[in-house]
Symmetry: C2
Subunit: 222 residues, 2 copies
């Protein structure tokens, strides 16, 4: 019998990919900035080869952009592009919410309800970083409960893009906590009571509000 010990040996690419992704996420690498290959590779104690492989991955996720013969740059998104991204999140997370409602376990319900527990009933939410983290967790958790491989990969990327977007002081939140908390709790209720159609609908409405907000930030309408 063949044992599978050490069968999935992780290669450097993946590790480097993770690290660079985090550097973009936590704004060690800033949007628009050129990525210094040699320097970064030296810092990480590796050669350019695995770094380039990682950057190619990130290019595909649109977190990084290549300008031929000039190098890799951290992607800078326009509001217009963000609208496109939120339109996709709208339908994809709508799907995730529906799927989650269809297959959530009781234990997962408890976890999901816990995410915003400390903000519930609070009439003026001031802890923006904390709320932002809860927001991110809310979306991640629903995606995970839906447990669809492809969906998860795709949404992880969009989540990062969304939170890295523009408004740094507001920690990436498009709308104010006071406005969104109600939506979040309603969505959680729909999912936990296994109302799939409703969960999808509410999630989509939730995103449409963010899209409207983004659209209002545009000079000319679309």
């Amino acid at each position: 019998m063949k044992k599978n010990i050490g069968a999935n040996y992780e290669n450097l690419d993946q590790k480097v990919y993770q690290v660079v992704k985090e550097m973009i996420e936590d704004r060690t690498l800033l949007p628009g900035q050129k990525i210094p290959q040699e320097k970064l590779a030296k810092e990480m104690g590796i050669s350019r080869t695995p770094l380039i492989a990682a950057l190619k991955f990130l290019e595909h996720e649109k977190l990084v952009e290549v300008k031929p013969r000039r190098g890799f740059f951290v992607r800078l998104f326009t509001t217009r592009e963000m609208i496109g991204i939120f339109e996709i999140r709208e339908v994809l997370e709508g799907l995730a919410a529906r799927r989650a409602a269809e297959c959530i376990t009781d234990a997962e319900c408890v976890a999901l309800r816990g995410v915003f527990a400390e903000y519930e009933g609070q009439d003026n939410i001031t802890d923006i970083p904390g709320y932002s983290r809860a927001d991110k967790q809310f979306h991640t958790l629903i995606t995970r409960i839906a447990s669809r491989e492809f969906l998860t990969t795709m949404l992880q990327t969009f989540n990062i893009i969304s939170l890295a977007y523009q408004n740094v002081p507001r920690e990436g939140l498009i709308q104010e906590p006071g406005t969104t908390i109600r939506d979040h709790l309603d969505i959680i209720d729909a999912i936990c009571s296994r109302r799939a159609e409703k969960a999808e609908l509410l999630m989509r409405e939730h995103f449409r509000k963010a899209i409207d907000e983004l659209k209002s930030q545009l000079e000319e309408p679309m």
Copy 2:
């Protein structure tokens, strides 16, 4: 003044990527098969470096799979995974249909109506390869009319996966032409009459039928 001549010099990666993608699409490389790097690179007259870069791209698109320390393999999809892919296509192409209805031009309407023109009224469609090509074009065209950068990239990939799936004799079609032609024409009507909501709804229903068909092919239900 600085001229921009040759500014966007294409690098090998992209060309190789295109070529390998086509090899998967036209089944020169078969699902499950290991990709012989040295051999392929030699055939194309390049080194392994750009080939690996291209394969990493394809890995991200899920057309190719890496098993660490054993190489790249053409991805083989299970019916269960295909269901996941079609669920995503359902909502994404629903979005594309809605967007298309919102911004289609008269010229594009003519083009769109042309896609299935030769099959309209035909009571028994026998030209499967031709219909399969029309089907692909239908989806591609709607996506292009919607003109959303991200959406286009993502759907291109799923389209290829879908058409490369299992049933080779049927050219990738999940359902029979006789069943789908009606759907297609209705969707085209909705888009051309600028009924965005309806277009999205119809497109989603269209996909749900394919999903049901796939589900019925499963041993155990989901």
